[in-house]
Symmetry: C2
Subunit: 433 residues, 2 copies
Amino acid sequence: MYWQKDIETMPISALQALQLQRLKEMVRRASTSSYYQQLFQEHGVTVEDLQQIDDIHKLPFTTKQDLRNGYPYGFLTVPKDEVVRLHSSSGTTGQATVVFHTTHDIQDWANLMARCMYMTGARKSDVFQNMTGYGMFTGGLGFHYGAERLGALTVPAGSGNSKRQIRFMKDFGTTILHIIPSYALHLLSVFEEEGVDPKTDLCLKTVYLGAEPHSEHTRRRIEGALGVKAYNSYGLSEMYGPGVAFECPEQQGLHIWEDSYFVEIIDPQTLKPVSDGEEGELVLTTLTREAMPLIRYRTRDLTSVCSEPCACGRTHKRLSRIKGRSDDMFIVKGVNVFPMQVETVLMSIPEVGTNYVIELDTEEEIDVMTVKVEVQSDFFLGDVKGLKALQQKITAALRSEVLFTPRVTLVEPDSIPEAQGKAVRVIDHRQQH
Amino acid sequence: MYWQKDIETMPISALQALQLQRLKEMVRRASTSSYYQQLFQEHGVTVEDLQQIDDIHKLPFTTKQDLRNGYPYGFLTVPKDEVVRLHSSSGTTGQATVVFHTTHDIQDWANLMARCMYMTGARKSDVFQNMTGYGMFTGGLGFHYGAERLGALTVPAGSGNSKRQIRFMKDFGTTILHIIPSYALHLLSVFEEEGVDPKTDLCLKTVYLGAEPHSEHTRRRIEGALGVKAYNSYGLSEMYGPGVAFECPEQQGLHIWEDSYFVEIIDPQTLKPVSDGEEGELVLTTLTREAMPLIRYRTRDLTSVCSEPCACGRTHKRLSRIKGRSDDMFIVKGVNVFPMQVETVLMSIPEVGTNYVIELDTEEEIDVMTVKVEVQSDFFLGDVKGLKALQQKITAALRSEVLFTPRVTLVEPDSIPEAQGKAVRVIDHRQQH
Ligand SMILES: [Zn+2]
Ligand SMILES: [Zn+2]
């Protein structure tokens, strides 16, 4: 039931002791990088300031901008020839960032991934189809190494080519998928076109949804259509990649592996900690990284933490479903809106199809939000009156969520272009925003 | 100098004894697969027939069609839950094939790749940029695992996005590239556009050219432009992938790892062995594979073998540069032509640019071969007289190679669309061929 029972069910006091010991080790190690050496000096902190785990508040935060400033080698704590892997952000907009790994880090990461997958019931007898891109995207190689550590049969399918993906599922009896949620929704319509009923024609039992925040309704929809349990996977390339937090079979939040990450939730304005259950920005400190420790890294992801015991027996805290990045938020008519709010509303309406997009425009100096929504194919063939009623239903549901009236346009199934990789959900045409 | 000195320099008699022992083991193992069990029965052969290594001729060949017939599990010799990886051909045309690997196989493959790379001077201090696609394409994960085994810093760049590739080379001081030869040629023009001189602005010293047959002139051109040594890598997904044969620093043929593969060259018509140095079809038998041994597999690749000692001290035989697949050959006006012959001629002419394509048409029931050739950008800006002379020069050179007169069209640099992955060199518009 557990991949590493002693660690996963470790009593909280022991876990905290382990964290303090590892935090000291991390800070000592980080101090050997040129960037942290200077940062710690400026803040007048040393490892001696850490007497108890709460002393972590004495340490400065690390931001994405710090990673940019330190590019490429500012955060490295080992000789370059000890590094065996790097993952770099695209840097097409703004300056690039890079994360380095030693052999220890790669193995540590693979172990965390195996722990996540095992937790959901994955075993060596499973057939795991990895439907995300490989290369620089950490989701691909992250899950690949985890499945290999587990001894499952890995089908390195990569992204795209839905018909071939479905053929693999059939031919090899795939039991587990790793897939980006927006692509999973798209796949549902391909199953329909191909005349394949995933519930009866395939052996699927588990799906890992990663790399994009998604709503509970999106999960339930994918579960219902595929006849599987779908688990939320969370990670970011600044921390290895996936494997930071993962849902257990209870599906009541994502266990964050506290032996490897120290978790804080802060108010992004005041930078003060918020209480259990309160929403704020996730801040993570690596506890086992060798090549590149990161101290109090501001992820910009919004979530809350729950310290209550979990029915699965694991003692590690749980994150609530990630609401999105603070940068994802947009302001319309003075109201803060997260794409996730729109998605939650849309996916709760059965007649809504598998794709949507939010467009923002300015008309006579006033913000206009238009939500283009694909409609289920059988419903789309119905009468105009039905469509009109659906449009009004969606508009009302969105209004009650965002508190202003959006425009809703219903479109045919598959008429919104499918994204390569992560879906683009918001297109902002406004002059200034 | 050697990754595994004892194996790489093993005296020939010891190597042959090892091969016989492993061949028996393989045949015994293969006999447990449903496909070989039946095939061996039909041919009335058993492992007892193998008294000396030449007795391999008693065994039947295995063809691509056999792999299709046995799809998916016909060749499997281990329980399914011992399989940790599969690589499947696309099967968009014709039926798919699949190759399975155990943990042993993956490690064995990684070791062979590390042996190849080490042979060319790659060490843990190197920065290895893997510029091919990952996923089902075995070249990506094959080199990735080899570099990791070696302890080099792997930059899992994946394919495409040339500007980002060049930024990685600069930012991380890349010393080794793995790249498809047609993409390497394309990259030369991107360097020019970007104003980057790879010889002075980068740290490149080694390039691995794989996945496509290419000519000696292509290699010399890439070496000259990048200021590197370029090595020919050979493999096929039916045998793990890359790592079957690889050039040593002597660059006089590709050492085929005879501890892992038994090599034969046959006349594809008579199926009889040809002599050393004579061209024929490469036939390979796996000697160490666990999940899926293949016996006398007809690769369809045309080459010759050289058993002379190599100056590098390795005792393993060498393959000559692969001329192409027997299926690559096309017939124009009754003449057999390989794309490689055309490439060899084109790349020997300095004014020729980095891309070309061969188009085949029927005009008044007569075959017409048109070779579209990109011209070097500085030359293209010259006078019309120069272009006319170049066209005549190329036509004459091609005629003396293929023995009929092709049409040659000169086009601007970058006007032939760049391929995604392996280049499409021949477009056949003819009704019947
Ligand atoms: Zn739990
Ligand atoms: Zn040699």
